[in-house]
Symmetry: C2
Subunit: 171 residues, 2 copies
Amino acid sequence: MTRWLTDDEMRAWLGYRRLRTLLDLQITRDLAADSGLSDADYDVLSTVSDAPDHRMRLGELAAEIKWSVSRLSHHVSRMDQRGLVTRDDYASDGRSATVVLTDEGWATIQAAAKLHVASVRRHFIDLLDPTDLAALATIAGKVLAHLEQVTPPDPARRGTPRTQRDEPPAT
Amino acid sequence: MTRWLTDDEMRAWLGYRRLRTLLDLQITRDLAADSGLSDADYDVLSTVSDAPDHRMRLGELAAEIKWSVSRLSHHVSRMDQRGLVTRDDYASDGRSATVVLTDEGWATIQAAAKLHVASVRRHFIDLLDPTDLAALATIAGKVLAHLEQVTPPDPARRGTPRTQRDEPPAT
DNA sequence: CTACTCTGTTTGACATGTCAAGCAGACTGC
DNA sequence: GCAGTCTGCTTGACATGTCAAACAGAGTAG
């Protein structure tokens, strides 16, 4: 009774899987070699650097990059040690913590970003023509429209078993 | 002098990133809830189950799924504890180890596969039309053709700093 | 105010991944 | 054969991620 994938579907799925695996490996490698940053570091730095004042509340940041708050807290501690970010209190709520880019963090992400775009172009974007890029955007749009409905269980319960089955209430 | 991404390129790239993040989260979640397996477990089990006799040499398996031999060795030990696979000697070479599916491992992957396809359909394949699937396969093809040249540095030196710059000798 | 509950974060114990070192079986030239 | 080297794998120490428990400030009812 299982609907297995057809050949075309399989090609698309395996292609995606393989792409994901190899592209990530390569980009991670470049990032480490070029800037001494891990993907995790890059995600944090680039996201915070986009925020006003280069500061963002910990919980917000975690939600944005889809990490558990706990993971982020640990990682921020390590990045703090390395001098890339600092923790700061959040004026209007004594519980809340804010992650702030240090000057070094800002300098680091600026330098890293240049090399990172180059890497992304080299291994991905520049290999595709405008049609491909448009198709990719379309695909992502369709899938994300679905996932963004399905995915967001209570953020506090990240990682809970059997999160939620989907299929909108349906007929 | 950096060529930043144009709006269209950015849409495609960010779309891919987001897709990757959310889709992986969702599929990992389903897999854990449905079958009690991690992505890592699934990769190992499904790959070995495709091999003749449900057995594969450790090094081969690692190369196939792009893991370091060390990571695989550790993980196989854990799966062994859980009764999903076993290690066996490889007759013609005393150094070599073979990973073999146990009956339980085989039963597990068979059951898991059904639910996994369903999950993949639900969150990905069934959301796309044939045009999308074809486009995706094309994109993957182009990028993989490039990456498969660039990527494979000496397998022994997995994780070495500054692996290899690419750009085929050019001009 | 004070007890309750709720919420944002931290922490510690444990699972998983990485890196470099260690080991034992193959191969090679002599 | 057998020293030297290579190869395939394992191991241990350390980095990173996960989960549940612990905290401390905020919000609420009496």
